[in-house]
Subunit: 347 residues, 4 copies
């Protein structure tokens, strides 16, 4: 390919779309060529996001126009809308990276069960692949569609991959207690995310019923080589960005923590975006905010024979837009960390 | 007793002491008669806490002077200091309510193991009683010392009492994932609680090693009538007040949620400070802030046969100063909710 | 009157109405007898505000029903709606305290200019009186309607009253830079008050065009005995409650700060809710949150001959619901601080 | 010069030093070659700032070692310490950019008055130059020392430059009401910046006595061509980053706002880091956070003939480390925006 990758963003005024557009400003080999928004068509993106004033002189167009102008389209849409977009992209020979939920679950019954919808174009799913790069990059072999992982599942899968892969975790032995910043709820207005209702507040939500559950289980099962069922409880943190997933793995018998720790450092030794923290440190979302890192800290409860694996990511970067760019880099065969060498601010 | 109860506060400039003094301003049957502080002796309390200007005209004295002027002394001290104070109080015929940790653990070995100290005056512990009022008020029969519960243990014990008492919870079946506001760390300065380091940050701490663990286990064992061991992980929330404890109870077999829910509503039906929320609602610390309530919500994960019991309290009120006043009310035989009929602000 | 005052709240699910209902729970001589809401009619108030669960067992009714059951009606409505309510109240012989804006401005032209509406019932305004208790309580002589002051105007009027009344402030010599917590914007959802857009953000708004400007000028003119025009800039603070108004008074010539300070302490010496802070201290909204206090600190810039008077209140209490109760107490001839002896939490 | 600029940071564990080190990671023509810290000498920078783990493998050394290894030294030190460092740098032929306060004030009497110290090496100040690039870049002609501007003064000078330069502002006509995030107070622990004391709090501080006052006046006087005296009030915002300065300019007579607005857009038309916002928009610190931008919005109060100019910057970037890099770029004759093309996150 000559010249820069031309990327389009459908749903550019949602949080994931806006963050993706911002991150792409620093990508040396790709540019955002066009953006669309149903609600703001015809306006400038910088009217909606004044942080981009003078940086991204993009006018919000419609979907078709974005497809036309792009080599690859990022879809940042509510679930149920990406298949139709995929049909259009493929018809025009364009690639698609779906930041939404429509290309994550392999099993149509699971999609139906958790999202209430059928896949309308099953053949599309044959041409798509779900990729958490650190765990599945070798599954990419030219598919025109990549299903980009959800935010919670990314934090959990990376925090648990080595233990699920290399150790014997009893059935029912995984409990995941996750906490996410408010950007995870998106740009849409709700009473729950109204500042005075949300600030100085904290609670779980969608206990044992969050739609990221089957995606988590799909990946853990893939890693363990057997069906894994988990309890998953998300909570809403009164801060903007970041997820901490505190993952409890009950072994039911004494297990050597040194071996576990060693398996993690070995597994991730060549990864640029995963930091297995030194023993004694604890993962904190503040150290990964605005970056594509996943920090993992490992702790062992000798009294109950449990591993507590803590995974921290920025939900908008590694959990959405950043990982989507990482997947684009894989798709186009360029260095995986291009445009993503971002250091979290300390404060 | 004629007249109002004269209460003294030793350690009045710490957060728990200051909150207790503030709450007592609204108590119809008790007054704060004297306050002490090692660091600020001789200054006015309102110099340190200007919110009390014009409301509490108290000068910080020394410990002995506070004992002299009081019927009951509240100790808000770091662990290891309350026994000596208790000796002095008892010598003068005064009662003591210890908001600190020195009269919580019955087993001296547990105290030694988790706090690194021996009880120097074992006989004092014969004269003391640990009371979470809703669970143990009938244990009070005139003891001169009450050990006031810790914040995390209060939230957990209330959230789990009925299930531990009336249901068969397998050994090792309890995992507690707690989150606390920053006041839980006290008034002392640390890098971790420096605003720019703490704001927009979130992480667990003291995983599998927090000193509230044995206190939690002591109460759950008392309730279950057998030894209970738990995994306990506290986290630091970037907000001032409140604890949410998300408690996972793994039954290992199908259990009737309706029965569990019924046991809770029955158990707490006459309690003024415990609200078992209607099914479908979720406990949020914002609804109990500044109040002495504990909100409990119950959720059942059908897929994994787990109860998720969520307990929310204000760590400084029900988790410290408010519960201490509740215990004082028990000690003096007055209505348990006197001075504590506080409604949480909605925002 | 025998028995407690029966208060009704029209617009009880807005922030001011909800806060008033909560505060009234602690009032010894008044009860909330009925509440209304257009949006939630038929539901329980505690469905909308779960902090009130078990405390206020009130069902949301309609306006007429509230009037019927009440001695005094509090109106917490958007501007333009209170006159019709007043007509109904007066027809039934009930009193009205308008927390909204419709009975604040004496000059119909000012109301028209800033709110775009005419007074439809000018005669009602003859029967109403606007009262900031500390400055105007002697204006109350039985009027059936009290116009309750706005939040910003309360903080400014109290911070500037003595200097406007007793000193010679040149024309154009007053600039007011105010900052308010987000509850000031109410419960309604807006992009601006969506948590991720509002958190870690700060900006002025409605510069030189905020509707509280004429109310501020009306009171300062009343105090000065001459027409006063001000520049007023409000800002939105990323916190829930509280206003700080930093008021600049340019004397244009050397003025004795000791005299000014003395005038303040003398003027407010008998006031229960105004604290003129000791010289050297600075007013902070945290010391008045959840209380009916107004803290005032005074500072003099010798280099430019300016007084900087800082006024801090809780916008929802002294700036709305608390002051409305204070006005109710005046209306019914009971102690002005009944139900309002609240101490701000230190944290 | 062949190869990259070798930069050293003295005081690298303070907030400004840490931010500078982080920002330099993205600079294409410069590297941080060495860092020092008195408190943490011998430790790794990433032990203190784990956000830098895997990104900056730097061990904290001593000052002399840093000078040795660097072409240019950034000093991020408390006032009073930079002159000695400058002596050492110049002796070794190294350049110095002082992020602290010691090379900002030209008049030794002003330095003495506000900082309580004498300049010990007056000759150094002949070799130094204070530069806000947008206003004074042409003053740079090879001086070995650049005094980097303070955070508040940067926001004020940029917000007021065109009006001070091209319009007739009466003596005493400028009042500046500034608000800063908590990082402005630095990494050192204070009660004021302890999370529970600082969160949900807001107040002014150092009213009419802040040390940035003479620096502001020095620049405004330089721009106006006459002595300008201002009233300056800083406030502490409960958020991490950013300054908003609300600047009031009293003309005392009708002044054409269109002309003022035109003067601003003309003056800044070629600047990459100053955005004069479209009329009707208001500067918000959230749109400049983590970036080197200064956003300026202009408002005119017709009723009082005042310009309200609002300047927003990130205090740690444009107000400290970012501007220091911009000055380094000037010093080394490379493009002024190298390493600084950062887009603020929208959330």
């Amino acid at each position: 390919m000559s010249g820069k990758i031309k990327a389009g963003v459908v749903g550019a005024t949602g949080y994931a779309g806006a963050e993706l557009t911002r991150l792409m400003l620093g990508h040396p080999s790709a540019d955002v060529a066009a953006v669309s928004s149903v609600s703001f068509e015809g306006q400038k993106l910088s009217d909606v996001y004044p942080n981009l004033l003078g940086l991204a002189d993009l006018t919000l167009e419609n979907e078709d126009s974005v497809i036309e102008k792009s080599d690859v389209v990022f879809a940042a849409l509510p679930h149920g809308l990406s298949e139709e977009l995929a049909v259009k992209c493929l018809a025009k020979g364009k690639k698609l990276i779906d930041i939404g939920a429509d290309f994550r679950l392999k099993d149509p019954l699971e999609y139906k069960r958790w999202y209430g919808l059928d896949y309308k174009h099953p053949e599309l799913h044959e041409k798509s692949v779900y990729i958490i790069p650190e765990l599945m990059r070798d599954l990419y072999n030219g598919q025109p569609i990549i299903g980009n992982p959800g935010c919670y599942p990314t934090s959990v899968a990376l925090a648990l991959a080595p233990v699920m892969k290399f150790f014997d975790v009893p059935d029912g032995g995984v409990i995941i207690d996750s906490k996410s910043g408010v950007t995870g709820s998106g740009r849409g207005l709700t009473q729950n995310t109204h500042f005075p209702d949300c600030n100085e507040a904290f609670a779980p939500y969608k206990i044992a019923s969050h739609r990221h559950t089957p995606e988590i289980e799909q990946t853990l099962s893939f890693l363990a080589g057997k069906r894994v069922t988990v309890s998953f409880t998300p909570h809403l943190l009164p801060l903007n960005r970041g997820i901490v997933s505190t993952c409890y793995v009950s072994f039911g018998k004494k297990t050597d923590f040194g071996e576990i720790y060693g398996a993690y450092t070995e597994f991730y030794k060549n990864e640029k975006f995963v930091r297995v923290l030194p023993r004694g440190m604890t993962a904190n979302l503040k150290n990964v905010r605005m970056s594509n890192f996943c920090d993992i800290s490992l702790h062992y409860d000798e009294r109950t024979n449990r591993l507590i694996a803590v995974g921290a990511i920025d939900n908008m970067v590694k959990g959405a837009a950043g990982q989507a760019i990482q997947n684009m880099n894989i798709m186009f065969g360029i260095a995986e960390d291009e445009g993503l060498r971002l250091a979290a601010p300390a404060f």
